[in-house]
Symmetry: D2
Subunit: 330 residues, 4 copies
């Protein structure tokens, strides 16, 4: 497999939603230890600041070495804490805006020290809940400025912006791939790019494979988060268990784009066992790779380029049944 598999570290600990608390709280080392049991896992995406509290660079490197794990990416959280809940990069309080920039910069320091591919930031408290709630022009300018200021701090560290339609804000300021790629153009720095969460793409009514291709072509595809949903909310389900063809197409698009970075699980194991859930997510990657390999990437590419969608799905379904394309349909 050309992809490296990672997981957001927070999902190894206690989880909450609006109604429930799931699993027990765990310390940093307990979470890392638990993660190390996930099938195929090579990396972790720890969340700044929560997964770094009280740690030194050296201590972190030793912790990772102990479990034979890398840091794929540092997830900078500028939404959870009370100070950020009504806006971080676009808060009307300049002190909060500066604090959000500082968080990203500190995350970049950690990323550099731990050899991570990038920091990823999903500004989910930046947005609005009601009509007439914010000054859109002002908010957008603060966003462009804040991302620019953060990224300029360390040009050698990549800063990936992750989009999502909503949650917890009813309307998040970066809802889809187009908006983030536009933001990258407006910021105008070489180390600003995009994290594509496959579930956020589905939720934004995109074809994930299309957003991946667009971002890769623009030279901005920094990181991939994987999960699945019903296109109406960020359910964070195991990849491919709802939208099987989209999942297959996603893996194919990543291969065609030459992406050889991390696939970070952003599956929310609330009602299933965390290690089992994230192991199954890993196997979903492997099954898809195996399907594509046995089907033949060139054969698939050729059918797509001819836009022979009926024949293509016939061949995909026959392949599933273990039949070669030469055999007649049953």
């Amino acid at each position: 497999m050309s992809f490296k598999y990672s997981a957001i570290l927070g999902f190894m600990g206690q989880l909450t939603d609006r109604f429930s608390v799931y699993h027990e709280p765990r310390s940093l080392e307990e979470k890392v230890a638990l993660a190390s049991k996930i099938e195929g896992l090579a990396g972790l995406e720890p969340v700044y600041p929560f997964d770094f509290e009280g740690m030194s660079y050296d201590g972190y490197r030793q912790l990772l070495a102990r479990y034979n794990l890398q840091v794929s990416s540092v997830n900078v959280n500028i939404k959870a804490e009370a100070k950020f809940q009504r806006g971080a990069l676009t808060s009307i309080d300049p002190g909060i805006r500066a604090e959000a920039v500082r968080y990203i910069q500190q995350g970049m320091d950690w990323a550099a020290e731990l050899g991570a591919s990038c920091v990823t930031v999903c500004p989910l408290s930046d947005g609005h809940d009601y009509p007439f709630e914010i000054d859109y022009r002002q908010a957008w300018r603060w966003l462009v400025d804040g991302i620019g200021e953060a990224a300029a701090y360390r040009p050698e560290v990549r800063l990936a912006v992750e989009y999502k339609q909503s949650e917890p804000r009813a309307k998040v300021i970066v809802p889809n791939a187009g908006i983030v790629l536009l933001l990258c153009e407006q910021v105008g720095l070489d180390n600003v790019g995009i994290t594509i969460d496959t579930g956020h793409a589905l939720y934004a009514l995109e074809a994930p494979a299309q957003s991946i291709t667009l971002a890769a072509d623009a030279g901005r595809l920094y990181l991939i988060h994987i999960n699945d949903n019903y296109r109406n909310w960020d359910w964070d389900l195991m990849p491919g268990l709802v939208n099987y063809w989209d999942w297959l197409e996603t893996i194919f698009a990543l291969q065609q784009a030459g992406y050889d970075g991390w696939l970070v699980s952003d599956v929310f194991p609330a009602r299933t066992d965390p290690v089992e859930t994230l192991s199954a997510s890993y196997r979903a990657i492997r099954y898809a790779e195996q399907f594509l390999e046995t089907f033949g990437p060139e054969r698939l590419r050729s059918l797509i380029q001819q836009r022979e969608v009926i024949r293509l799905f016939d061949e995909l379904q026959r392949h599933m049944m273990g039949k070669t394309s030469a055999e007649p349909a049953a």
Copy 2:
């Protein structure tokens, strides 16, 4: 295969949408002749009144015999014509309401004469576009009364009501399975039931398999229309080509419910060849049946009843790869 395959006859002719006209117009016999070339097709669902104009019962039977096709069901259209566009069974004009009932009754006559399993009616002009547009109480009562009056006309002919969220009305009066099954209870006749269009179920945010099971248990499952979409509109795509697992689960639910009736294609072949498209839709049924048969229905049922969703999807994906469940994951 235990299902019989049919297709809505109108899709063999000229199609329109808001922007385009697709394919050539065809006469009734031309449409039947074209349909007869569809792989696996055993029946037709002609639309009343358009596909019956100028025909006698005998003439229709001869036409069908000529092409070795049955009538699976008669689709009564109470929405297309100008008189029905602002409401049919719930029009504020009592003459229009009576006309809509008459249409259904005439469709029932045709169904009885042609040996069809049922008439199906989807009251798509009954509903509203704007808030404050209709008196909901009045409209619902007219609906209950109209369906009741139509059904009482021939107790030996089954009348299936098909639900759909919208189109062309922004809000249709029967948007989901629950509403139609409630309507059946309120009408209180033994020959009133439901047509479940798998795409309409997805569009109503249902699991089609769940709606099928609920309807079958209530003794009201009369007819199935098949197609697929992105859960946000009635795209009428080929079944299983968007939501593969839902499609597999749908076929499984029909088998478990002992449904041995018609699967009527409601795929809209606008940008693809009609015969190829509907042949592919037939093969999608066969591929799903084959998948389920080789996987083993009892094995599947047992995994579901234990709610072992991770193991279940592992086994489904391994089955696709041609591996037995005993083999270790790659």
Copy 3:
């Protein structure tokens, strides 16, 4: 005003979502004391078991008397605790199913003792996240049986089932009004009805006014929860601040249906002050009532029955501008 205003008590305490914690934890009395500051508030909807722990019937009555508040309804929570997270009334564990029934019965005892209009239960952990996850037939039968067994316990106490598309389950077993009204028919008891949450209706793509009318006509409209959203998720925003016309139509439908029960705020004050937010929700009721009263209910009803939607919206907008309908447009 003919409606009585209440609020779910939990919203006076600490709130969480998947990413954040909002506000401070508060004791029962602190929550009641805080609620008593809400403008127009006459009642509370406490959550069983959390808002009843350690309390006696007498103690509760005294607490309420101290703050001059009634209990509008008892909200029985069969989803939050670990035991219920994978299903309550439809758990595959018969002990859990029995426990869920017991919770509802104990809530009914509290409702009877405190003079509440009903218990309301929203079975949000009953449903599924993935295709092939549950046996739909079995789950539905358990639901019908469980609700029936609970309701039969005290025929003089009304049991209202609240529907919702999802959350935390991707698919909840009672997603819309039609399903709950069908459930009521299948249970077949006189004390089983429906809670309509206006936001859940919008989220189910219903017109809330239509669902209210349908439920009232069926004699099953027991309780109303109020809030607003963007029709794609249960955002629990202040009523009327997104969908103004729907809100006005909702109040009108309740008046026309002769509903004189409680309007319970189900607004989630995460990023706004709880007392201010719920006071504003109260004023939204009053503003709507005032709009309708000055416009004239008979005038509105007559325009609706004539289906004169253009004229009707002209008159509504002119009314907003303080103009009589006789004046020409500007």
Copy 4:
């Protein structure tokens, strides 16, 4: 009023959807004559090529003069005809791609000759219906090249690209505002911009006011189409009759952005009278302007900038009731 009101000319003629035909066919002059009866109408948006067939520049100017109407914009249709149905700017046939470019260029000639503000093109057949249907990279490059080639033809004529999630394609290649603004950057010409259809913005889950602001700030806001919907489909309803606050906010955003161009009605009058429907759409603009003017734009702006959403909606609702903000709530 600072806006000029126009309407898409096609809506004055015969309309179709998937199920019905509405109204009579009308000749070009009959459509213009009918449009001239619409209240407040100053311009027309004719569709190229259909509304230009057999006309000379002079003949068109005389026709317009006869009815005292301008051409606001020329709507270039590269989707309706059979040749374009499987893709226009992104067809795999280079001849079709060239033809689509030619259409736009010919539309630009007409726009220049008739003094229109821009040509607008909504490439609705460019996209896909199924996973694996198109090569996303290739399609996007063809789109960038085609728009670039068209725009370069006459740098003095503005070319506005209109986005939309879907229809007739399940997935359109330009689904949202971000994608079009990114496209503008990638094309890199000064005369390429955006048409924002307020309904398409809602359907893309955007706040129309936010998209307007973003586009205006980027110097790319060329044209506005107005209508309303339920955020789940392009219903083309009268503006403000579903989402009142969004409508008010939209007009406010246009005023704040200094937009003084055309508001083109894209309301689909299928089940209502075309002249009445488009006159009501005009009045919806005037009502909103009047609301904002009497409320006070500065007062509104100040409340937004302080993010005082509760107070703001209180004042908006009080204003509707004809009360000054100094009065206590009822």
